[in-house]
């Protein structure tokens, strides 16, 4: 009997406990549902804003194109008519009339230049003028610029001299030759305009380990100290009326600075040494990085190629070439023709990494990847996907496995690219996670950094480096490629867009995981332009530094021990 009572009592207690637990669970479900609804609402709102922004951008593009065309058409008639009249080909005009025609002609030219410059600046500011980076020779570009400006220099009675580089080095750099030539011509044109007849303009070049420096020294009237910086602003001139007298637009130096910063460089003006009475005037200094495209990254001895790589591709030719290349670099290679073979090999052999072709008959690359990641034995083996899709173009939504691969190489690939990505993946699976924080707001950076310090946990070491400028970011990436980048879009010396564009051109950096921590809304097109490897977009106004830290730790964990089918999740409703 007592036993029965005890049993009933126990049952009662258990039921009550269950009931309480059930209520709690229901409550939690309600809270979660609310959160989900809120997230969906936010996401819809964001989508709407994105659509509106994109629409606005299209309208702006059309407007600029139309303005450009509509202004040029009447100018073409005016310019042509005036040119023919003042040439005297159609009959003599008297001196007064000729002078009036000349005034009309020069001002038409000025208007044309103004329209061109405004369009140029607008394009550069909206980052649509992407750079076509090539290896350039600085001396060649200088000669070209001097030749282009020769008629103007001759008319002004000014000579331009290229002072030979003291070490006799031929300075080469990675840049967009057309843009750099435009910059050089603008600077030369300025120097010529403000030089008295007979005064030479001197071009000096020199190098630092990472940069080249070009100094354009004129003997003109000089720039007052307080205007050395403001002359780079739009429509700023040393003396009012300069644009009329000298025929400039007031936009040349702004364009120069835009081009220099797009290249990760800088430009500024200095007053010439006043103790040198023979050379008053100014010197414009251009400093730009020399090497911005890496053929390969130096590998640290710790990650010297070693270990077994499994190559899975249905094309025997591709497999053979891959295997050959990897063996030459010290790896041991296993080959699999089909996905199921690859899984079997990975289950029974010690394998450091898998190179996986995405499109294979039978078990596709995706399915193979899924099975590898869902199998506890193989889940930790890093996978580098080989695909005709670019890493930036890979589907970003609705494909939870997309981030299950640690590496991505686009076909056709070079040996360098493949080895760099494989090296990165192997390197990333050991040691502390190296984070590069690119943020020009010191206060915000301090907050983010302190969260990382506070959140440090054993076994999840993260080393974080903070840089403030585009220039420093490139230098940091070149010195030691990070595992994850956190990027602020607006930087003092350029924008995140140009950094991403640069990174995309670096075989070894083009697939880095990236977190864009942006202070403003980004259009879908902008997001596309900012996509690197696995990319997350976090708006500053919605995501606290603490959440950034959490996301980074999740990403680092993922790099170290990839969890099966556990995609990296941005804070709810914000992943893109």
């Amino acid at each position: 009997m007592a036993l029965a009572y005890l049993l009933v009592a126990t049952l009662l207690v258990a039921s009550v406990a269950l009931l309480i637990a059930y209520n709690r669970a229901q409550q939690q479900i309600r809270v979660l549902t609310e959160k989900c609804e809120e997230a969906i609402r936010l996401s819809q709102q964001q989508q709407q804003t994105l659509r509106e922004h994109r629409h606005l951008e299209t309208i702006k593009d059309e407007f600029i194109s139309t303005v450009s065309h509509e202004l040029r058409t009447p100018l073409t008639s005016i310019r042509g008519a005036l040119g023919l009249l003042s040439s005297g080909m159609l009959g003599k005009v008297d001196a007064t009339a000729h002078n009036l025609l000349r005034i009309a002609s020069t001002n038409t030219d000025r208007l044309v230049r103004l329209i061109n410059d405004i369009l140029d600046l607008e394009r550069m500011d909206s980052e649509r003028a992407s750079l076509q980076i090539h290896r350039c020779s600085l001396p060649e570009l200088l000669v070209q610029a001097v030749e282009t400006m020769a008629p103007m220099a001759e008319a002004a009675g000014v000579s331009v001299q290229i002072v030979p580089e003291p070490n006799g080095d031929i300075i080469a750099f990675d840049g967009d030759p057309d843009r750099v030539l435009q910059l050089l011509c603008n600077l030369l044109s300025n120097a010529i305009k403000f030089s008295p007849p007979g005064a030479p303009i001197l071009l000096h070049t020199s190098t630092t380990p990472t940069d080249f420096v070009l100094r354009i020294e004129d003997a003109g009237r000089g720039i007052p100290a307080e205007q050395l910086e403001t002359i780079f602003n739009r429509f700023q001139q040393v003396e009012p009326g300069d644009s009329r007298q000298k025929g400039g637009t007031g936009l040349g130096l702004a364009i120069c600075r835009s081009i220099a910063t797009q290249h990760g460089g800088n430009i500024w003006a200095e007053r010439n040494d006043t103790s040198h009475p023979g050379r008053p005037g100014s010197t414009f200094v251009l400093q730009m990085p020399r090497i911005t495209v890496l053929e390969s990254l130096p590998m640290s001895p710790a990650i010297r190629p070693s270990g077994t790589i499994l190559v899975c591709d249905d094309d025997a030719g591709v497999r053979h070439i891959l295997a050959e290349q990897l063996r030459q670099h010290g790896y041991t290679v296993l080959e699999a023709e089909r996905g199921d073979q690859a899984i079997q090999l990975a289950e029974h052999q010690r394998i450091e990494a898998i190179l996986l072709d995405l499109y294979m008959p039978g078990l596709s690359g995706w399915e193979t990847l899924e099975r590898l990641k869902n199998n506890p034995v193989t889940a930790d083996i890093p996978v580098v996907v080989l695909s005709a899709l670019s890493p930036a173009a890979r589907p970003s939504r609705g494909a939870p496995l997309i981030d299950a691969a640690q590496g991505w190489v686009q076909k056709p690939f070079t040996e360098t690219l493949l080895l760099a990505e494989l090296g990165r993946v192997l390197r990333a699976s050991a040691g502390p996670g190296r984070i590069l924080l690119i943020e020009d707001d010191n206060d915000l950076a301090t907050v983010v950094l302190s969260h990382f310090e506070a959140g440090a946990t054993a076994g999840e070491e993260v080393s974080i480096q903070h840089v403030r400028s585009l220039h420093q970011a490139k230098a940091a990436c070149l010195a030691a490629p990070p595992d994850i980048l956190i990027l602020d879009v607006g930087l003092t010396d350029g924008t995140g867009f140009s950094l991403v564009e640069w990174l995309r051109q670096q075989p070894a950096l083009s697939n880095l995981p990236l977190i864009v921590y942006s202070g403003r809304h980004l259009s879908e097109r902008e997001m596309e332009q900012l996509r690197l490897g696995p990319t997350q977009f976090l708006p500053k106004d919605r995501v606290a530094p603490h959440d950034v830290e959490e996301l980074v730790r999740t990403m680092v964990r993922h790099l170290r021990t990839p969890a099966p089918a556990a995609p990296i999740a941005a804070p709810v409703g914000l992943s893109a």
């Binding site: 040119g83 023919l84 080909m89 159609l90 003028a129």
Partner: protein
Amino acid sequence: MRRILIIDDEDDIREVAALSLESMAGWHVTTASSGAEGIRAALADPPDAILMDVMMPMMDGPTTFKEMQAIPAIAHIPVLLLTAKVQGVDQRRFAGLGVAAVLFKPFDPLTLASQMSTALGWTT
């Protein structure tokens, strides 16, 4: 004497360009104010080269060029496009059409003829 056909919907530009080519190079110039009129003129009396505006109502420059390419009697005549669009994308698009050259508005009336000669490889 070289014979040039100018196709542009703007009366003033046609006149200035024609005057420029006639007085600077001594070429014989005829004009047309639309793509369709241009094709008819070229068929009736094939010129040595065609200078054609890009932005025209009804049939624009690139479309007119493609139409001409499809007509064997005039497909061989070199076409130079004249455009007020200076954006890189547009330039590349026009250059990709297979025209002899893309020239920009506003053009310099004193050098238009020599620019055309250079692009066409004409020495006289």
